[in-house]
Symmetry: C2
Subunit: 264 residues, 2 copies
Amino acid sequence: MTESPQPTSHCAIRQYANGQFSALEDTVIAEARVELVVNDNELRMAMLCLPRQLPELAVGFLRGEGALRSRDELDSVDIDPSGPAILVRGRFDPDALDAIRRRWTWGTGCGGGGTSAQLNPEAYQPVALGLTVGAEAVIGLARSFQGTMDLWKNTGGVHACSLASASELIVVAEDVGRHNALDKVVGRAVLDELDTSDKIMLTTGRLSAEMVSKAVAARVPIVVGRGAVTALAIGLARKFGLTLVGFARAGRFNVYTGFQRISG
Amino acid sequence: MTESPQPTSHCAIRQYANGQFSALEDTVIAEARVELVVNDNELRMAMLCLPRQLPELAVGFLRGEGALRSRDELDSVDIDPSGPAILVRGRFDPDALDAIRRRWTWGTGCGGGGTSAQLNPEAYQPVALGLTVGAEAVIGLARSFQGTMDLWKNTGGVHACSLASASELIVVAEDVGRHNALDKVVGRAVLDELDTSDKIMLTTGRLSAEMVSKAVAARVPIVVGRGAVTALAIGLARKFGLTLVGFARAGRFNVYTGFQRISG
């Protein structure tokens, strides 16, 4: 059971604060797609995670799903760094493994963007060029967005997402999960036949690879989050030409990719 | 497309602040298990979500997964409040529907606790009685937990989870997703053959039904979160006799269920 790659990496960002941009280096969290392999081929699945404590992740997951009933039934856990993959061997409950394979419930935080990116390549095209938004417009949208979060204010228990033009919020949705809130906003855009290629998406959640993947599928060129951005999200945003903005709060924000779309 | 049930509900809690308990009423976010039914039987799956804007959720999800290619291919979206269920009709990409059915990637935030609860009933037993912890011990653990979050401090991008005795943190894990962090902690407990029935679990994330479901499967009697608690999580905690503590930060916390385990 070896330890895995660095949990953080550095990247060059543009930070907007006190009315001006500055170039600096930021530390971002690593996020990796790791394969879980149970007894060679009894189960193979991928997960998006922080690539540390991988044996623990695999064992805890299998325990939680009922596949691993006790420590005795676990023979070995090895890490293949080339995958990366977690290779687990043991005697697992076949019904529970089958249930994992056939899982038909997705949770509040699950989006499966990684899957979609592979299964529906035609849905994943570089986003449209052309849209430019002023930095103060981003600040204004983030402030309006904050103002609409009524459920959040009452309970602290929800995430919100919005689709906006450069001047106003057009659609807003809240949910227990940030991916659900995003799906609701995209769903409303589809129902209203809104053009998303000149819109800005705002979210209260962290910008993980799944969130960026969903934004790419929805063809939104600028995504603005209140929270942190993962390294994998940055890689995806670069690949599809998306502008990724993190830590948008209290009159400031960081631009991680697609700097050209945010003007000073 | 009718609107759905109340997004919040009220519950009686015990709040600990300034060294003493008081009884008060709190507003908590609703969370519901909603079924998505595509063309009667082409796809049936369940999701955990805030039961509002359900047509948007279904349409945005199907769009994001590549199943719905354009507005024209959508015939109708209806809500069956008795389920509750979202009934969607249209011409969807059969390959994309199949991919959703066979989804084999789970994301950073996905746990599937709802599924497990149904599929592995033997894993879901009421948690052990007996453990009692003083309120100041909870405050102390929350403070130690906060202190261990080194990655969080650097990047703001991770969730953490810990398994603790009444006096100290025993296992700590961090991840991009709160469910993954929980799985890592449980995995370490399994590998070390730790008895979890007298332990306290701490998490930085919100306590949704999935998190409580995973804690029940791990047989942990007390779960302490820094964030909010959903109504469905409270229901699950009551059912399995778990003590649920939310908003544990800055020397205070709210107890939602299992009051008897936290002494003054």
